[in-house]
Amino acid sequence: MISVLNPINSVLFLISIFFAVSIVFILLGIDFFGFIFLIIYVGAIAVLFLFIVMMLNIQKIETDKFTYLTIGVFILIILFMELFLSLSYNYLLIFDSNKVFFTMENIRYIYNIFVLKSDEYYRFLMVESLGVMLFEYYPIQLMLSGLNLLVAMIGSIFLTNFKRGFSTKKQYNQLARNHYLINSNIY
């Protein structure tokens, strides 16, 4: 994805990565999040990227790659050391399952759902318990994410509105007599 010269090919590789990861989620047994990722990432965000790449004529990526390679390799070495140190302790094998509160059995016990009918019903129960957990135990986080979406929507509308929104037009530069000299730092 990052070594391709044309940005359209890069966006298409990004779409293929999202598709493959959502298929892995479906195979892991989390159907809900697989389809959510397929809808949101491939349907909204990747198409937004494709639209931006097609609308603005972006030049091809310059292959000037060896200037920042040293910083990247240094930070990657630090990250590798951190990850292997944390994986070598093997926290997952000594994990105590009694301390987890939001297991499926606990939620089923809380809401008096004892009957487990079939596999499809179990999957639906997972989505239902996720919604119960989101609305009962973490309402503040739900409201904050909604507020974040609202701020993003208003901000993007304000930034891209041409007439009444944020404009980068400078009135003084248009009224000045020698505006080529003033604008010479821009062009």
Binding site: P7, V21, I52, I61, K65, I75, M126, L159, I186
Partner: protein, 88 residues
Amino acid sequence: MFLHLILSLFLFIIGIFGLFLSRKNIILIIMSLELMLLSINYNFLFLSTYLDDLLGQLFSLLVLTIGACESAIGLALLICYYRTYKFI
């Protein structure tokens, strides 16, 4: 089991390489940020199914909304940049 963790680690490394190697192009930086958020979500969802804890899926849902907001704001800023400087 650790194969999934290694796959998400490789996705994260590809995102970091995209951040550090493509300083010239801003749209590739936003795309590699999306890729890093995807790898984080992969980690959360896999560990939530492995440990039978539902908290990871909720956190993945919140991270997903943050990623959508970030990409929308970044692309709006990109359009503003294009309008003033006429090139990217």
